[in-house]
């Protein structure tokens, strides 16, 4: 694991004026880079593009340009389908994005002779025959706020971030605005918890501020263990300073002495880039004692998780930070009363905190103007499955699933027929074709048994057997159960056993009733959120696709052929 050193050229800022001067200097440097007469080549490097060889492209670009140009290591821009990509800005042209490319394409791309690989111009105007990137169907219906800097700034450069507006909100709360006003703006913005719960952040902050115990802490929950979501990883990799700024604002607003960011251990690049951001901000004097001469103190610690899904639950997360097994506890007391080290602790999701800087700068009203009645602002989404394009996108709340799947993600791949979409990670049921016109927000989906959750959607096609899929989802919860309370520890394995029986063609119709009864026990008696929703996807599957379950039980056949109904005896033991 990296122990990053702060960039040695950064000064230590001790006053308001010094910060403003540094901001000006960073902006001037940024403008000079884009208006200069050197070629600027930026390669999108994120964990998804590294898997496809982005580092080789970066090396090749460095060799190719040498001293004659600037090569930048930016992050991915969310569009996985065009990775690895390179953006080339020639002195006489706007920045043009090319992808997907191989290292061997790099010389020609930099020379400007491979227009066939060009995807678009970063900006809003076309250049010659190359259309603007924002007109591409993948980007046209997005509303980038949090992802505004994705693929634009170098995540390891605090100067890039500051030139693009980072720490403006932090500056505002330090010098121009009272803590109460800041919390009022967050309340006006009606920003709701993005981790899936949807609890209003303003109310949480308010009670955090009112808590009498000291010291207080702010914890950013960046542990996304769901088997299909990587929006927080993308945010960390592309714009770590935005998250850090959000946490620091929360610390000042709630009067907390120390901020934490708890990142899942399976994201080495995200951890590395975030640690670098913290080291640079500390060096610059934005974290520490007497910040910019205001007399305010905030310390910061980065902690990493060890791959346990349940640690996304706030109380389990705090136990994990404290170096014990991440097992949730009963509430009350809530964590704003008694959290980390038994002190008042405000815990927010990464995406929620990443929204904060813009809300402080532009005001709550501005933010509340976006989105729907009950869900304001934008939401990061990931759609997976056999789609034409894949990636992370940011859309305004209230977009329909149809727009999301068919316009942005380009519909299903050839040869695949839409069968359904699993919503809310492993915590809610599937939706089918008839639900695709429903607007996506916190409230509408719940009415039909779906869930926005953390914004992960998994589209499945005709080749997926729902009994097998339900078993997969239940087995995930079985595996991830922390084993603290009995209903979850024993109930989930029992459900998997019943489902295995059905998969093997030995189920009876009574089993469906048995599933419902067992599920009821798990839902009502489990201690934490994991157990309370563990059987919900299974119940949703039965609800939507009861015919298919019955065919397994009554006709002893699996319509897709994925269940081992006719398997020889020796194959009957599942591999996991």
């Amino acid at each position: 694991m990296a122990h990053p050193q702060p960039s040695s050229h950064l000064p230590h800022l001790t006053s308001k004026d010094e910060f403003l001067a540094f901001q000006q200097q960073a902006t001037a440097r940024w403008d000079a880079m884009w208006s200069g007469d050197r070629i600027v080549a930026s390669v999108g490097v994120g964990s998804s593009s590294i898997a496809k060889g982005a580092l080789d492209v970066l090396d090749r670009a460095r060799q190719e340009l040498g001293e004659n140009g600037i090569v930048r290591e930016v992050s991915g821009n969310g569009a996985f389908w065009m990775e690895p990509w390179i953006e080339v800005k020639r002195p006489d042209a706007p920045p043009i994005v090319y992808g997907p490319i191989t290292p061997d394409d790099v010389p020609a791309v930099i020379a400007g002779t491979r227009e066939d690989l060009a995807i678009g111009v970063r900006g809003d105007e076309a250049f010659g025959t190359i259309p603007p990137l924002s007109a591409h169907p993948f980007f046209a219906k997005q509303t980038p706020l949090l992802m505004r800097n994705s693929g634009v700034i170098e995540p390891d450069s605090i100067e890039d971030a500051i030139a693009r507006g980072a720490y403006a909100g932090y500056f505002k709360i330090l010098f121009e605005m009272s803590e109460e006003d800041a919390i009022a703006e967050v309340t006006t913005a009606q920003v709701r918890g993005r981790g899936g719960g949807g609890f209003p952040a303003g109310i949480k902050w308010e009670s955090g501020r009112k808590a009498r115990n000291h010291p207080k802490f702010v914890v950013c929950n960046s542990h996304e263990g769901e088997p299909n979501v990587y929006k927080d990883r993308h945010l960390h990799e592309s714009d770590p300073h935005r998250i850090l700024e959000g946490i620091l604002i929360a610390c000042i607003a709630c009067g907390a002495e120390r901020g934490y960011n708890y990142i899942g251990g399976e994201y080495p690049l995200a951890i590395k880039r975030f640690r670098q951001a913290v080291a640079d901000a500390e060096r610059l004097g934005l974290i520490g004692h007497d910040i910019l001469g205001t007399g305010k103190n905030v310390a910061f610690r980065v902690r990493t998780g060890g791959g346990a899904y349940v640690c996304g639950e706030a109380s389990a997360l705090m136990y994990s930070v404290m170096g014990v097994r991440g097992q949730p506890r009963t509430k009350p007391p809530r964590s704003v009363e008694e959290g980390l080290w038994k002190r008042p602790t405000v815990a927010n999701n990464t995406e929620t905190l990443a929204n904060i800087p813009d809300i402080i700068v532009n005001g709550g009203e501005w933010y509340a103007a976006m989105g729907t009645e009950g869900s304001k602002g934008t939401k990061l989404m990931t759609v997976q499955g056999p789609m034409q394009r894949l990636g992370v996108v940011e859309v305004e709340m209230g977009i329909t699933l149809n727009t999301l799947f068919n316009d942005i993600y380009g519909g299903m791949k050839e040869g695949h027929v839409f069968k359904g979409v699993q919503t809310g990670g492993v915590s809610a049921g599937p939706l089918t074709e008839e639900h695709l016109d429903i607007p996506v927000d916190f409230d509408s989906l719940g009415k039909v048994g779906g869930m926005l959750g953390s914004g992960g959607w998994v589209v499945f096609d005709q080749n997926v057997c729902v009994v097998d899929f339900a078993r997969y989802l239940t087995a995930f919860n079985r595996y991830e159960s922390c084993s603290k309370c009995v209903p979850c520890r024993l109930g989930n394995p029992a459900l998997v056993e019943i489902l295995d029986r059905i998969r093997l063609g030995r189920g009876t119709l009574d089993d469906l009733a048995l599933i419902k009864r067992t599920s009821k026990h798990i839902i009502e008696l489990s201690l934490c959120g994991l157990g309370q929703v563990a059987p919900v996807p299974l119940l949703g599957m039965i609800d939507r696709y009861e015919d298919e379950f019955r065919r397994h039980i009554v006709d002893h056949e699996c319509p897709t052929g994925s269940c081992p109904i006719h398997a020889p005896q020796r194959e009957l033991v599942a591999a996991d």
Binding site: A308, V321, G326, P568, D576
Partner: protein
């Protein structure tokens, strides 16, 4: 998926184990020395990070390494083992020479990762967390997401991602890796002579 009698593909004769299995206590001490703390609260917060560092470096955490971490942070090995066995990222047994991660995220699942796991079980006789008896290959099923969903179903063999792969391609891939390794070992042996 057909359920015909699975074809038993013989694996190439594996070379002797050359992977980094032994844990050098001095290296562990060097690794944990970066974790400094001012009070016991902070020391406790560092246990997981220190273990991760060791786990990342060696691929597993031995009882001896766990004791060093415990001593450095002023806690007990019982507590350290409690964490090692709770969190899925840690291994308490050495990895094989090659390490295979099979992504079992939902995106990979809907595109066939279940069959890959079944293939490993049927053809190689290894399941999640197992190592082949000759220490050549260890397998870990990632119950989260490797984050390369446009290549699903995806596997990561050593440092390279491969995807999309089907059962046959996965078997090929493993055989090739083991065969290359065998050649290298033979080559190395002849060069030494």
């Amino acid at each position: 998926m057909s359920h015909a009698e699975p074809v038993q593909v013989p694996l190439p004769v594996p070379a002797p184990f050359t992977g980094r299995q032994e844990i050098d206590p001095d290296v562990v001490r060097e690794l944990v020395s970066h974790f400094t703390y001012s009070d016991f609260e902070e020391a406790q917060e560092l246990i997981l990070s220190a273990l991760q560092e060791v786990n990342e470096h060696f691929g597993w955490v031995s009882p001896e390494a766990a004791q060093i971490v415990a001593d450095h942070l002023g806690t007990t090995i019982n507590r350290v083992y409690g964490l090692l066995t709770f969190y899925a990222d840690f291994r308490t047994e050495p990895r094989g020479h090659h390490h295979l991660l099979v992504c079992h995220g939902m995106s990979c699942y809907v595109q066939g990762s279940q069959q890959l796991i079944q293939t490993l079980q049927d053809r190689l006789g290894i399941a999640d967390g197992d190592t082949t008896p000759d220490q050549q290959l260890s397998v870990q099923v990632v119950n989260g997401c490797l984050g390369v969903c446009d290549r699903s179903p995806v596997v990561k063999l050593d440092d390279t991602y491969h995807g999309p792969v089907d059962s046959g391609e996965l078997t090929d891939l493993i055989q090739r890796a083991l065969a290359v390794h065998r050649e290298e070992a033979q080559h190395g042996a002849s060069a030494a002579e």
